[in-house]
């Protein structure tokens, strides 16, 4: 049986919005596809061999948590870059996405270095962008649903978006594009249990992961999660 290893990075810092649910969803989807799944919960100052992981997952945190993670990540930039080039899948939800841009400008106009793996800059804002999100992605026919609650905007984006929102805020006010989907990188400001609430999206990502390892895709069955998705669409959008 093939093994897929997931690094849940900064599990104790970037976990503000039920992000552990995403790791559970990945586990269940992969297991249903006859893959042995190993999950390692990892955090700052630990010895981490990034080369042994197939998936790196990171979630949301408050300002202080993001700063702690940023400082730790910068110390490991070389190793993470190697994993990036090797084809490790990066699944990023919430404001951990900010960590992959080039710069971060604080409200006090201080500019901080970020990982710089993707072409965008982040700017802190003095208000929060909060609300439900729904939009279309090129990856799948079903719409993606979720929630965002953030205090940064993304500027100078030169990467393909994760999905295009129907309404509310994308990279920045009056922009509908949100998140980044580039090769093995799936990143979105949509927070919390994205992979639970969007079983079709998760299915698509798992297919890509299995394909990259030349493993067959057997399918996925979670009737409850699919029912929850459909009920939500019916209650909040179809009846409007």
């Amino acid at each position: 049986m093939e093994t897929i290893r997931i690094a849940h990075l900064y599990y104790d810092l970037l976990n503000l919005y039920g992000e552990s649910g995403n790791v559970k969803a990945l586990f269940r989807h992969l297991e249903q596809n006859k893959v042995k799944v190993i999950i390692h919960n990892l955090t700052v100052e630990e010895d981490i061999d990034f080369s042994k992981y197939d998936i790196i997952y990171m979630g949301s945190g408050n300002k202080e948590a993001i700063e702690i993670a940023r400082q730790d990540l910068l110390k490991r930039k070389k190793e993470i870059k190697k994993a990036w080039k090797k084809g490790t899948f990066f699944l990023i939800t919430g404001n951990a996405l900010d960590l992959f841009g080039k710069t971060y400008t604080t409200l006090e106009e201080e500019q901080k270095e970020m990982l710089g793996f993707l072409n965008f800059d982040v700017k802190e804002i003095d208000f929060r962008i909060i609300g439900e999100t729904k939009g279309k992605s090129d990856m799948l026919k079903e719409e993606i649903i979720g929630f965002q609650n953030r205090y940064t905007i993304m500027q100078n984006v030169e990467e393909p978006c994760f999905y295009k929102l129907d309404e509310k805020t994308g990279y920045e006010p009056n922009v509908y594009e949100e998140g980044i989907k580039k090769e093995h990188f799936f990143g979105t400001y949509t927070l919390g249990p994205l992979f639970i609430r969007n079983p079709f999206l998760t299915e698509k990502i798992i297919q890509e992961i299995l394909e990259s390892k030349s493993l067959p895709y057997y399918g996925y069955e979670d009737t409850f999660a699919i029912k929850a998705y459909r009920e939500y669409m019916k209650n909040f959008y179809e009846t409007k």
Partner: protein
């Protein structure tokens, strides 16, 4: 002069609301506030103005403090109904003023919403009790650190802060607040945990140097005894420590006095210790505090009991979006004896805003419901399938879960399920369940 007019308006509006059987807690204060939003600055306050705030436990703590003070002969004005936003507080204050703007009581005691405290304004509070800061209503509050900041910016040096030192977020007040601080907490109990009940705890890192905190033990969530291996930040010795906490027998000791707990759940131990600490700080006789707390009639705020299908119903008013509040209710259910039926669900995540952020469901330890003593779990409300999905990930067997499409079917369904009924529903479903139970009693 304007203040007298506002007082008259508030009292008159309250009477009118009562005549028309409308909620009188918010509107009178709202009108007064519209006339002058500094109205609360004009009032002459009593000797003690005590405010209780935090993410959870403030209602229970306030009720206990009020009980002790009243039993000790103090005339106490407090927001007993739990209306804790600024308009409700304005109504309460003005309705207890004479026409000269002087409050006619010994103590003003307020359970205050942590995000509305700044509207109350500085230079009024003599004492501030802080219960805990956890992730709670994140769509409104943002992260816990933002809640903490909004509270601490409302406090001036003249206020004595009574804080829960088991919470590192609150303990950091010692690093920055120059005024008087009194601490309380719980000593290790036989139920204390060596590792947190789940990995998504708040404030796992030192607020001083940002290194990971080491815990001697956890009570629940991030509450426990901790220290930083890098700097001198720690829980350390507290001023009021509850010891020998025995939930089975509902007892504990504070300052070597045996104290009764009104419920066999840990948040009540916290509320009781906080109330003791506050009352001792303002020099209430310890014998009187003990006597008040040990009255058997004393019951905690949550957990009213009803019947449905001939079975006892305990309604646990769990707050959506507050995983630790939910955890306490789950623990309570699992510790209760016998077979049980549980009802879970909600139509709306919040009554304060329309957004429905479901992320908190994944921070609640629903794994506790994977318990052989639970017969069935009824999932109700618009998000019943999201709740069901969560239960499935908590490994609750699917044959134990019942999706309730029509709420009127609840009496018939619960006739067939086993054991007493425990509801963990939010405000919207609480009202509906009340109606169903009242109708059932009417039909019988």
């Amino acid at each position: 002069m304007l203040l007298a007019v506002q007082i008259i308006i508030s009292k008159t509006m309250t009477k009118i609301c009562h005549i028309f059987k409308k909620n009188a807690s918010v509107l009178p204060g709202y009108i007064a506030y519209l006339l002058n939003n500094r109205v609360l600055d004009k009032v002459k306050y009593p000797r003690y103005v005590i405010v209780v705030t935090g993410s959870s436990g403030k209602g229970s703590t306030t009720a206990l403090i009020a009980h002790i003070l009243k039993t000790s002969g103090y005339k106490v004005v407090y927001n007993e109904s739990g209306s804790n936003i600024i308009n409700a507080i304005t109504t309460l204050v003005l309705n207890h003023c004479n026409l000269f703007g002087k409050m006619t009581c010994d103590v003003l005691l307020l359970e205050a919403d942590e995000k509305h405290l700044h509207l109350f304004g500085k230079n009024k509070m003599t004492h501030l009790v802080l219960t805990n800061i956890t992730r709670d209503q994140t769509a409104r509050n943002g992260s816990p650190d933002l809640v903490y900041d909004s509270i601490i910016h409302c406090v001036d040096d003249q206020t004595t802060i009574i804080l829960n030192a088991d919470d590192p977020m609150l303990q950091k007040t010692k690093l920055q607040f120059p005024g008087k601080i009194i601490t309380y907490g719980l000593a290790k109990t036989k139920d204390s945990l060596q590792s947190p009940q789940n990995k998504s705890i708040d404030n796992a890192y030192c607020p001083n140097c940002h290194k990971k905190l080491i815990y001697h033990y956890y009570h629940y969530g991030h509450l426990g005894s901790y220290y930083c291996r890098n700097c001198d930040f720690k829980r350390g010795k507290v001023d009021y420590e509850a010891q020998k906490v025995d939930l089975e027998n509902q007892t504990m000791t504070i300052q070597k006095e045996e104290i009764h707990l009104s419920k066999n759940i840990l948040y009540v131990a916290y509320a009781t210790t906080a109330a003791y600490a506050l009352c001792d700080t303002i020099h209430i006789d310890r014998e009187k505090i003990k006597e008040a707390l040990n009255q058997k009639s004393l019951s905690a705020k949550r957990g009213k009991e009803y019947t449905l299908a001939g079975k006892k119903v305990t309604m646990l008013e769990s707050k959506n979006e507050n995983p630790l509040s939910y955890y306490q209710s789950l623990k309570y259910i699992t510790k209760e004896p016998g077979i049980k039926t549980v009802i879970l669900g909600f139509d709306n995540v919040s009554r304060r805003y329309q957004e429905n952020d479901l992320s908190w469901l994944w921070d609640v330890d629903f794994e506790l419901l994977n318990d052989e003593k639970i017969d069935k779990i009824l999932c109700i409300g618009r998000f019943k399938y999201d709740v069901l999905t969560r239960l499935s990930y908590a490994n609750v067997p699917k044959e134990k879960c019942i999706i309730v499409e029509n709420l009127n079917d609840i009496p018939a369904i619960t006739k067939k399920t086993k054991g007493n009924i425990y509801t963990m529903v939010c405000f919207d479903m609480t009202a509906i369940l009340h109606k169903i139970m009242e109708e059932e009693h009417g039909n019988n």
